[in-house]
Amino acid sequence: MMKPELLAPAGDLERLKVALLYGADAVYIGGTKFSLRSRASNFTLKQIEEAVAFAHARAKKVFVTANIVLHNEDLVGLDEYLSALEAIGIDGVIASSPYVIDRAMKHPLLAIHLSTQQSVTNSALVNFWAGYGVKRVVLARELSLSEIRAIRQKTTTQLEVFIHGGMCASYSGKCSLSNDMTDRDANRGGCAHSCRWNYDLYKGSDLLSKDYDFQMAAKDLQTVRFIPDLMDCGIASLKIEGRMKSLHYIATVVNAYRQVIDDTAAGTLKGWEYYEAEIARAENRETSFGFLKGDTTPEQQIYRRENEEPSQDFVGIVQDYDALAKIATIAQRNAFRIGDTLELFTPDRGHQIFTLSHLMDEAGIPILSANHAAQTVKIVTPYAMEPYDLLRKVQ
C-alpha cells in the first residue's frame, strides 16, 4: 500500500522542526502576508529559507499558504513575494484567490495547491481546477469517506484531506459571521470564531433555548480509525490542522498519525485505543470523525463546553545532552520537580519513563523544582537524549 504524505502545520521554526522530526513528510506555513491564521506567528522570508533548508536536508517538503481572499489593498507585493518563494525553493503554494493562482502560474517552479477555502466538494470542480493548472486540491471538510472515494475515482489530480484538528462550523470560505459581528475579516485571517459563541434561539418571539445554550461549535476532527480507508482511496496527502497549536501538540499528534500510517502500510496496526490515547495527551478538546460517516449528528457538536485547558503533561524540551556526564539541558514549559515521574518522548527512539532525582539550574546549582516560565534547567538522566526530545509528566 502506498503511503500518503503526512502534512503538518507549523507556526514557527521550532514547531516546524519538531513536526518534521516527529514524522511529518511535509509542513505548511504562513508568510507574514497573504496568509490566514493571523495569530499564528508567521514566517519571514529568511525564516522560510531556513525552514526549506531544514526540510530538504531530510528529503521533506515545505508548502507556503497564500490563501486569503484578497481585496485591492492586498494585491501589492504579491509578485515579489512569489518570486522570493520560488527562489528559496519552496515545494508549493496553497492558494484560494484567482489572483494568487494566476500570478503563481508565472512562476514555473511553484506548484499550486488549491486551498480548502474554495470548499471543493466534487470531482467536476477538482478537474476544473486541475485543467486550469492546479496540481493538488484540498478537499472540503464536509465530505464523507464514500464521497472522497467517488471523487478519487473520477480524477487523477492529487487530493489532500484533513484528518485532524479544528473544524469550521461553516463551509470554509463561506462565512462572514466574524466580519459582521466584530468587523474582523474571517477570509483575511481575522476570524473571531463567532461560531463558538453562545446564542439563544427564538421561534418568532418564543425563546426556545435556555441560558444561551444554542451552540454551533463543532468538535475537533480525529480520524485515526479512517486512515486505512483514506490510504486505500489513494489520497495523496493527509493534513493536520493547527498552525497555532503548541509544540507538544504538534509532536504528539504528528507522531501518532505517523505510527498509524506506517503500521497500516506494514500490516502491524495496534488497537485503535493505543493511537487515540496518545493523541488525547496532546490537548483536552472533544473530538469526532466529522463528516466521514456522512451527515453530522449532535454527537459531532459541542453543547456543553468542557474544560479545554491544555494538558500540563508537557514539561520541557531537550536543548542539549552531555553524554559523558549524562546531563540534559531542558527548556522548561510547565512546572516539574524532583520526585516527578517523567516520560522521555522521542521522534523515533520510543518512550522511556524515569523518576527525576537530580535537578539543577543553568549554572549547575541543585534546585528542587523548575517552576519559572521558560526556565533553562539541567537534569541527570538515565537515558541518552537528543535536541527536540520532549519530556512529559506521568500523572
Binding site: 484578497l70 466538494t121 470560505g173 462565512c175 462572514s176 459571521l177 459581528m181 477570509n187 421561534k203
Partner: protein
C-alpha cells in the same frame, strides 16, 4: 454546495435551462461553471459566491473563462466596489443590494441537532421564523434557516442601497434583491422604490428602522488588532 451525488442532477438541470433559453444562471458554487463548461453554457453563468469577488483582478480572471457576469462580494466597502467597477467595464458586474444577506452556510443541520440534543419535538425545516441572539449583542436577531442542504444564517439588519446604487449605476448590469424573510408588500415596494426614486422616502419611512448600509462604510480588519 454541489456534492458528488448532485452532479448528474445539475447536469440535467443545466440541459433543461438550455432548452428553455434562460438569460442567465446565477450560481453560488463554482461547480455549476465547471459543469456548464462541459455543456457549452459557460456564457450564461453569473458567479455569485457571496464572500469572494473582492478585488479588481477577479473580473479579469472570470472573463478569461467566458462567463456572463460576476456578482461582487457583499463584504467589501462602497469605495472598493467603485474601484473594481472603474478598473474594468467589459463584463457584467452585479451586486446584491437589498434584503437579508447571508453570513454563514453550514452543511451541519444545526437546528435539527439542537432539538435532538434538547429532546424537543419542533418542526424546523424550511421554517423562516427562527432567530439567533448572541449573548453579548442585545437586540440583534439573526435569522437562521435550515433546509435539506444545511443551515444558513443571515445578517440581523436588512441592507438597502438606494443612495449607493446611484453611485454604482455606471458599473452595474444588475441589482439583486434578496427575497428571503421579506413580507410581500415590503418586497414589492422595494422593487418599486429602486425603479422610481420618488418612492424611496416613503419606503424608508415605512420600513427604514430595520435597514442599514451593510459593509458599504465599514471596513473589516484583515487581522486581529490590525489598523483599519
Amino acid at each position: 454546495m454541489i456534492h458528488e451525488n448532485l452532479l448528474s442532477v445539475l447536469d440535467d438541470f443545466l440541459a433543461f435551462l438550455s432548452r428553455i433559453h434562460v438569460d442567465g444562471i446565477v450560481c453560488f458554487d463554482l461547480s455549476v461553471l465547471a459543469m456548464a463548461e462541459k455543456n457549452g453554457l459557460a456564457d450564461l453563468i453569473i458567479y455569485r459566491p457571496g464572500t469572494m469577488n473582492t478585488n479588481s483582478y477577479d473580473p479579469w480572471f472570470f472573463r478569461k473563462l467566458k462567463i456572463k457576469g460576476l456578482t461582487l462580494s457583499k463584504d467589501i466597502t462602497l469605495e472598493e466596489l467603485i474601484s473594481i467597477g472603474e478598473d474594468y467595464q467589459g463584463m457584467e458586474i452585479s451586486l446584491v443590494g437589498h434584503g437579508y444577506l447571508f453570513l454563514f452556510y453550514s452543511k451541519r443541520p444545526l437546528l435539527k441537532d439542537y432539538f435532538e440534543y434538547k429532546h424537543a419535538k419542533t418542526d424546523f425545516l424550511n421554517d423562516e421564523s427562527f432567530r439567533l441572539a448572541e449573548q453579548a449583542r442585545h437586540g440583534e436577531y439573526y435569522p437562521i434557516y435550515e433546509d435539506k442542504f444545511g443551515t444558513h444564517i443571515f445578517r440581523s439588519k436588512k441592507l438597502q442601497s438606494f443612495n449607493e446604487i446611484k453611485v454604482m449605476r455606471p458599473y452595474l448590469s444588475d441589482l439583486f434583491i434578496e427575497r428571503m424573510f421579506l413580507a410581500d408588500t415590503e418586497y414589492f415596494e422595494a422593487i418599486a422604490a429602486y425603479c422610481d426614486e420618488r418612492l424611496e422616502a416613503s419606503f424608508l419611512t415605512r420600513y427604514g428602522h430595520g435597514y442599514d448600509s451593510g459593509f458599504y462604510y465599514t471596513k473589516t480588519a484583515p487581522k486581529k488588532g490590525a489598523e483599519l
